[in-house]
Symmetry: C2
Subunit: 662 residues, 2 copies
């Protein structure tokens, strides 16, 4: 809402100055406004929460894959994401607010999921039900779905996005939960749109629930159109994979600049802001004016909408300015608009496509929350219209529908989603009759692009070095067994362990899970009792219920703790080793680990095929898996398998002769 309004006011100022003929002042004011907004966004992001930069979808994806990095969903990230995104989009960057909205949704869900924030004195008791891994993960999946639902006003698209792109583990209950979430989003949105339809919230509410309605165009299509769709799919796949390749390269360069410190980050933002402003204003300035169409019923030229006057005299309009100097929403609406085949010249579309493609690539990665959807849709719609013009002789489809198919093809080529993109685009444009063509375009573009590289979000996850677990096992894993990749040393505890040993283990290793082994005289021969978590050990030690003898304390010891003490704390919020205050005497005492040990850990035999073990690990969403010996007469556990042991880098580092899959 705010984005549209700030952008609107900025444009109005600009239009006013242009109308007065004070062109240089208009240019300076345009660049200046953008720069101020950009610096504000960049500073917020660089100084307060660097994790808020970028789209946020890769981070949410990584979190839902089980990567619990502290800053990803922290409240500060949430704050910067919301305001940084508003400022950034208003600053005229070639970026969208859709990715950040997904991240925002996930952050809010995480905030609720960890029971509010003790730091900011915002806590609710009923939120304690989410204090475990699984429910929190579900809640964050719902948050991501809500983000998409709100960004595109596409509730069903939101559910599918969560399923196809965001979530790594899916269960049937989740379908129902995300559906419920996005239904609520749809209702709130509908209410706001209805409230704002009277025009008292600025530009928000324009378009109603369907943002870019093209349904009136009526779609009948023949073999020519199918050919065009396949052609669009192919070039969407090529452009998309190249886009991903270039973004990867640019991100590598930017990360070197960004590593130097917050000031460098802001400087980079300033550079890109200047570049964007100069491009938008300068390129619009260079093109000649187009005479207004005579047959159109719309006003021309106007100050907003389809026919922007810019520097043009009355009776003509500037078609490039119509795209560049509008809000993103309006630019897309113009490109998708039907019965306007000649409105944009071919040269204009070429210039705009080139500029947006280039600006989109250099903008992603600067210290501003920036979504990828909008630049991709804009560029795709552009070449869609171009292809439409190319196929005019053999095609009946409207150029506006070609723009829609072009956007679909480019989205498919970069993001590699299928069903969710299809539904999101349907809900954006309300054109169900185009569905078969849209499916075809998405299928072709994804297939073509998959030949060259991965989807853009997967690439970014990898570039950030996050240990993302793929859904399938790598083929070379079939040649290894579970024991081959387990990295030592293995640290185990006795069922009743000396406090000093526990503290040492916690201090000198970073492990988060330790096997607990029962030994004689408590059992006949030593056997694996279970796995105890670092976080639970810390809570247990903090309680100081030690005994001087090696005796079984039983479940009674748990009465001295509240049930919630062992609940999963908010990320980065748990007890730390430094918080413990244990003196030398206590160090020599014993503590019974049985009550807090998970006695049903998932185990695999050491000779289990690594591929199978990896699938088990991934399917069940594990963090630790015990590797047990095959034959008797050996220690009851030979290693612990973690996410890092399954990473291709780790495995191929150990066995360089194995070839990774291309």
């Amino acid at each position: 809402m705010t984005v549209e309004n700030i952008s609107g006011y900025k444009l109005l100022l600009n239009i006013y100055l242009m109308d007065e003929g004070r062109y240089f002042l208009a240019f300076v004011s345009f660049v200046g406004c953008n720069l101020i907004l950009a610096v504000a966004a960049g500073s917020l992001c660089a100084f307060i929460a660097p994790a808020a930069a970028g789209s946020g979808i890769p981070e949410v994806k990584a979190y839902l894959n089980g990567i619990d990095a502290y800053s990803i969903l922290a409240p500060s990230t949430l704050f910067v994401k919301i305001f940084g995104s508003i400022l950034g989009v208003s600053a005229g960057f070639t970026m969208g607010k859709e990715g950040p909205m997904v991240h925002t949704g996930a952050c809010i869900a995480n905030f609720l999921g960890q029971g509010g924030s003790r730091k900011y004195h915002l806590t609710w008791k009923w939120l304690r039900f989410f204090k475990n891994d699984r429910d929190r993960r579900d809640l964050i999946t719902c948050g991501a779905a809500a983000g998409v639902a709100a960004a595109f006003r596409a509730p069903v698209g939101g559910v599918l996005f969560a399923l196809e792109e965001a979530a790594s583990w899916w269960r049937s209950a989740l379908l129902w939960r995300t559906f419920f979430t996005t239904a609520v989003v749809a209702f709130v949105l509908k209410a706001f749109v209805q409230l704002c339809s009277t025009g008292n919230c600025g530009l928000f509410g324009e378009g109603g629930l369907i943002m870019y309605d093209v349904s009136s165009a009526g779609a009948t299509y023949g073999s020519g159109d199918i050919l065009a769709a396949i052609f669009l799919g192919v070039i969407g796949g090529l452009f998309g994979s190249m886009y991903n390749y270039l973004i990867d390269k640019v991100l590598r360069v930017y990360s070197m600049i960004n590593e130097r410190g917050a000031v460098y980050r802001v400087l980079l933002v300033i550079c890109i802001s200047l570049l964007t402003s100069v491009c938008a204003f300068g390129l619009s300035w260079t093109v000649s004016c187009v005479p207004c169409p005579t047959e159109s019923s719309k006003d021309c030229p106007t100050q907003t909408g389809n026919y922007l006057s810019f520097q043009c005299p009355s009776g003509s309009y500037n078609d490039l300015a119509t795209l560049f100097l509008n809000t993103n929403d309006d630019a897309i609406r113009n490109l998708f608009s039907t019965n306007t085949t000649r409105e944009f010249r071919i040269s204009t579309l070429f210039i705009f496509f080139g500029a947006i493609y280039f600006l989109g690539i250099v903008t992603y990665g600067i210290a501003v929350p920036s979504g990828l959807f909008i630049p991709v849709i804009l560029a795709g719609a552009c070449y869609g219209r171009l292809v439409g013009r190319l196929f005019e002789p053999i095609s009946d489809l409207d150029t506006g529908l070609y723009a829609l198919l072009g956007a679909a093809s480019f989205l498919g080529g970069t993001m590699r989603m299928t069903v969710s993109l299809c539904v999101i685009l349907l809900e954006l444009t309300n054109d169900l009759l185009l569905l078969p063509l849209m499916m075809l375009v998405l299928l072709v573009s994804k297939t073509v692009a998959d030949i060259f590289n991965k989807g853009v979000y997967d690439q970014i996850v990898k570039l950030k070095g996050l240990p993302y677990l793929e859904a399938h096992a790598e083929p070379y894993m079939r040649q290894l067994v579970a024991l081959d990749v387990v990295s030592g040393p293995l640290i185990t505890f006795s069922g009743i362990e000396k406090v000093r040993n526990i503290l040492d283990a916690l201090k000198y290793t970073g492990h988060n899970g330790f096997p607990v082994i029962d030994e004689p005289p408590f059992v006949d021969s030593s056997e694996l009792f279970g796995v105890v978590l670092r976080s639970h050990l810390l809570v247990l030690l903090k309680g100081k219920n030690f005994s001087s003898e090696q005796v079984i304390s039983g479940q009674d010891i748990l009465r001295k703790y509240a049930a919630l003490d062992f609940a999963k704390p908010g990320s980065g919020k748990g007890i730390k080793l430094e918080d413990l205050d244990i003196n030398e005497d206590e160090m020599e005492m014993y503590i019974d680990l049985h009550p807090i040990t998970n006695a049903s850990p998932y185990t695999v035999v050491e000779t289990m095929s690594l591929a199978k073990a990896a699938i088990l690990f991934r399917q069940l969403g594990l963090r630790h898996m015990c590797v047990v010996p095959k034959s008797q007469g050996r220690p009851p556990i030979v290693g612990i398998l973690t996410r890092h042991d399954l990473m291709p880098e780790h495995v191929l580092g150990l066995y360089p002769h194995l070839k990774p899959h291309k």
Copy 2:
């Protein structure tokens, strides 16, 4: 296509006779035509493939859950399903062709998946890639998706149906595959619809890709409509759960009749056919005529479409006959039609709702392929219109849209799907603006109905006694460990086993998997080598590569078999024990099982929580899971856990003191 045409000709005959005033002859011809078609459908089903009766969705669901019953997807079932469904729907039964089309899709997929049919000399070599459990399962999921996509002309709805209702295991690759499948369906459909739009395929193609277009109605709605939607949701939930309850009861009665033999099945079909015909004709006869609307631009009365004349004089029409004596498609189109608030009288709607609700319940379960979607949509649309009339004072929505919401509520109440129903209905009616209300209705109706019982398909699966594995573990399972439910006796083989022992085990048990244990002197102490499958043992024995000594033959033995010998055969097609011809001398010889044993079986420790073991079993889609001892010095395996050991009946049979979850 054929369905619409047969029904159409039947109706035309009827209309012709009515126009001539020969009412009794019309009645007799109507009943007679229906009876002939019904007997044909019933005989096909009762004598050739009883498994083809009913919707087929529960069977597909069960198959995708891992229940590999022979007849479910056999070619004979496919044949009867296609023709039985055409005849059955043409016979005027209150049933749809949607469920059968899903089953048909799955059958075709299975047919391809097992490499065609050797019996009917239809085989293709390239289909061998599907000769394993997982790929065949994926193919059948795609088949089910294609069925829905074809039935409702809803490609995205098909994908979601496969995900939400049909599939038990989902992986990301499957989304892409079902999407591809339904995209092809959409294209073929589009081509046929375009081909038939000239009218040369009878009634097929009517409505184009959007079967019941209501998009013209324009939806703005306020709080009154939201109230109405909630109300609709509640009664949809109540009616839906009652529907499921009654269907369950009727099915129990019918199964007693059907068990008596094929003739009884056909007799039941005859009874229901007579009942349906008499209801349709007789009830239509009793109502009085309605004068044609003066303001309408449509012709009235007509012989098809919105205003059927039936026995009425010129200038008036019979509104009940308009619903009863039309094709199902037209009846739904009439109910969904907008700007026709007064077209159906309240009393007519009441009568039709009651008749359809009752006939729908008594029709399901007779020996005819019969879908549930159509009766549910008809009944739901009926009470939707009634509620629309009730809320007229405070609501702006058109009665046609109320009919749509009513259908949604009843579907939600019986089938308990959410996202997929939502998308299917959208694709049926092309009304995206109604989406928030539709989501609300579905949420409420599912929530209300879930209080009382399960979804109709789950109920039928259970009634058929199929061992369906639920996605979640039952709460009482947390009180048990894996060993508690393993049923004996455990039969194991040595790594190199005597042929007689193998034959005996195959003969005297029905087990499909046997643990293979390596024993001294081949290893130091006996250890679990892996699990060998019955089907693989049969192939190995058939090859007769026995040796007189207990020696390791190594992988060389496999050279004597073709790789495809061990591929999964079509259901019911593998080698049987009777096919083996082994003489007494050979009985005493040995065979090395190592080469065909799966050396990486999934194992759990005996003390693993049963709930966790059940989740592991289900998530990974297993058929056998080895239970290994916790402590050393015992045999290396203590039991094998199968699907049947995890069934609530089995577990609660062993531990009657545990309470099942309500």
